[in-house]
Symmetry: C2
Subunit: 497 residues, 2 copies
């Protein structure tokens, strides 16, 4: 096979997987937004979901795909786009082909069933009814680790799927550092006299919606190349380079809707900023969950919960809602930065959020080490919450049953949330050297921040590995100290501790 033949094969596969991917992504959007497809019809829909993923799989795990990326491996004459394309196929082939096809299909059926069982179990707070599913899922992922192979720790084989190269060694260091900062900081905050004002009003969906449009526009989401939908669990999604969408939930809690809007805009702005010429190489999206999360959290937390932005935000709120007439920007700043240990990860504040991740990380690690059985999970969960956050759930629905990840088989995913947050702080440090972000944001001007991120992160899409992006953008490798420093300074000041 010649180099040109190999490139043509891979580009052909990409065009086809993109054609299928658009269909299945739109199908998912249709299931979950603006009322969604009728619930009664979901039985019929599963055939289309299985069809799309089967068709995608066929194009990755194929003899000609393998022959093509093997032909290109180590070819120094490739452009960086071609090399990245071959790298991604090799990686996807390795991740997928390691698992016997029949096992993968059984697992896919299992997680569909498990997900239904989990929803019912969560409603009734009944761990026992889902335990056997968890047992089979954890058993499967342990075998996945073996099939894929690993050097130091079986968990590494799973972590790598969501964040290339991520290991237990890295995370132990990172989370150790983080705990050493957050836990004492929280202890001091608990004794602080600061009593942040809280938003007590409930708001109508229509009121929340109009704010979403205004905010999305302000932070730089290009609505001519995307859509804003309504859903139950917010998310963002790329259909193609000119159609990047966010779906937002309006539940009456104004701040929650507003910050999830900024969060999803962070993801969407990332995708909207990728060089369009990367599309035919399949590089239109970040290859790193952590880097993606760094952008959503950069917009949501670093910018969105900054003192500079709360001034701008308050002006928007005062125009629309009489409730905020007597609020000051400082009060709003404290209100959006309340640090208060709570039980539900998705509702956690910026400071305590990573502790929720660490609980899950420790549990997954122990599971992969074979140190804990599924019947011990609730107890372990509660003990770790007590240890890290000082509180412990009364009901499993607010504890071990709160997340969808395990019933969906996504073991190794959680740490990317924490990693993204730390990437964001390291990027902020670099950005601050050339952009007066506080001054700009206070004026409601996002263009320089946006421009810096686009140039240094977004534009590259999936061209570089996360460590390469960080190195290029910040001049150094991943360093969690920027994040701990950021947390200490920010929350130290807010709570005067």
């Amino acid at each position: 096979m010649t180099k040109q033949e190999a490139l043509n094969i891979l580009k052909g596969k990409i065009a086809e997987t993109q054609a299928i991917g658009q269909l299945s992504n739109v199908f998912h959007w249709d299931s979950t937004t603006d009322g969604g497809a009728p619930k009664t019809s979901f039985g019929y829909r599963s055939a289309s979901i299985a069809f799309s993923s089967g068709e995608q799989y066929k194009r990755i795990v194929a003899d000609d795909t393998r022959a093509a990326f093997e032909t290109l491996e180590g070819d120094a004459s490739l452009t960086s786009e071609e090399a990245a394309m071959a790298r991604d196929f090799a990686r996807a082939y390795r991740l997928n082909s390691a698992i016997p096809k029949a096992e993968l299909e059984k697992f896919s059926a299992l997680t569909t069933e498990a997900d239904n069982a989990w929803r019912a179990a969560k409603d009734k707070s009944d761990y026992a009814s889902v335990e056997s599913y968890f047992a089979r899922i954890f058993d499967f992922v342990r075998r996945v680790a073996d099939w894929r192979g690993y050097k130091d720790h079986p968990y590494d084989a799973l972590l790598d799927e969501y964040e290339i190269g991520l290991t237990v060694r890295t995370l132990d260091g990172f989370f150790g550092e983080l705990r050493g900062t957050i836990v004492p900081l929280l202890r001091k905050i608990a004794h602080s006299d600061a009593k942040p004002r809280k938003v007590k009003e409930r708001f109508l969906p229509g009121q929340q919606r109009i704010l979403t449009y205004r905010l999305a526009d302000m932070v730089g989401f290009d609505s001519s190349r995307g859509r804003v939908g309504e859903t139950v669990h917010p998310y963002s999604m790329m259909i193609n380079p000119d159609d990047i969408r966010i779906a937002i939930a309006y539940n009456g809690d104004l701040l929650s809707g507003l910050y999830s809007t900024i969060h999803e805009c962070g993801h969407a702005i990332y995708n909207q900023g990728v060089r369009k010429d990367l599309y035919p190489y399949g590089l239109s999206d970040s290859m790193s969950m952590g880097m993606h999360e760094s952008q959503s959290r950069f917009y949501e937390n670093i910018i969105g919960r900054s003192r500079a932005f709360t001034g701008v935000l308050l002006r928007l709120l005062k125009v629309r809602f009489p409730y905020f007439q007597d609020w000051s920007a400082d009060e709003l700043y404290s209100a959006v930065n309340i640090a208060d240990p709570s039980l539900i990860r998705t509702e956690a504040d910026e400071l305590t959020y990573c502790l929720h991740i660490m609980v899950r990380y420790e549990i997954e690690k122990k599971i992969l080490q074979g140190e804990v059985n599924t019947n011990e999970l609730p107890e372990l969960w509660n003990a770790l919450y007590k240890e890290y956050l000082g509180i412990s759930p009364k009901k499993h629905s607010e504890g071990v049953l709160q997340d969808t990840h395990w019933s969906g088989g996504a073991v190794g995913y959680f740490p990317t949330y924490a990693l993204g947050t730390a990437y964001a702080a390291q990027l902020l440090n670099a950005l601050s050297k050339s952009v007066d972000w506080k001054g700009d944001i206070a004026k409601g001007n996002f263009s320089k921040v946006h421009g810096w991120l686009k140039e240094n992160v977004h534009a590259h899409g999936g061209l570089f590995l996360p460590e390469e992006v960080l190195l290029k953008a910040t001049g150094e490798r991943f360093n969690p100290v920027y994040y701990t420093k950021y947390l200490n300074e920010k929350f130290g000041a807010i709570y005067s501790v």
Copy 2:
């Protein structure tokens, strides 16, 4: 190949085409409703559309498909569902395989281009800029007629694609009958003293929307198994047996939005009423465009524009809109039945509608006979409008450029619109023997009408040919006299002529 093997092959093909069909239908819905996918992204989307239709084609025109339906042909031991499934595959194979694949692909690219050219041409009312596309398209369909073969008239080969077994002979008779009724009736109406009241108010989308929901519910659209969306050109669509959707346009014209709602509900109620066990045989939809249109027009015209219904409708309107306070039900009845020759087919009234179809029918027939060239089309169009409707367009955008069908390659489609109307009148005659429809509808009670249609038409889905459905439901073959009688009686009374 055994019978069982053949059945399994065809059922497998159906499951796959349904999986793909759900994806592509949802994709189309997503492009056209509630704001729609960003216009800028349409270039990327075409790859997914081409992919789906290619995948569908592959499953129809395939050696094993052919071997399977040939194995089953004439097998007397098949159930009626199995036989209908084999019949449909044989038909689809014949229609598709007659055209060389390379030609089909060229034609598909041509119609995409032509459709864009037509939109631009319509905007500028510039026929010359689209003429060469029309020429190539008509040339292609003439060759399609030859490839497929025909007995009496080349047009028959195209008509059959949209309505199985439909011929020029049938249509000449039908349209002759129809012209003999409508043209003299219109002449008398033109001299009538009746001056129907007109709705002059404009309404907000929100006001129209709330009426759509109420009406859809009243006429029997099951919203737990479907959705109502907003679009520019109204349509209905089946995703699967539990997800049947209508998309409505709200342009300020209350009656137009309201009657297009009832029209689309007619299509949707048809699909919602099909026996669910027909799905695995690919028989969940009517196999007849005419029969489908018969249901939409039954609901829209026969029921919706009846005196019985306008009483119910007026009560709904009075509750919501002060504008209608001084209207009587008789006035509303006349207002929704104004018979007035106009230029635009989609805005035509019940009486003149079929004349618009006849113009197109005559033109398509002449094209297939090779009697007219594309440069003569505008002149011929205008002459036929003058002859049939007594008026003639000043601009091509209101004349020969008004429809999307020709640039899309759908030659032979128009007649099914008129056919459906006549089917509806024949069905009404049969239904009236056992259902007091006027009495029921006057009470806002659709259940018996709905029940009769469901039992006699909807439930069968694609099991029977249109002529079989008519025969079973009405006891006789297609007979256009019911329709001409209906028009004479209804409009004779309204206009006292």
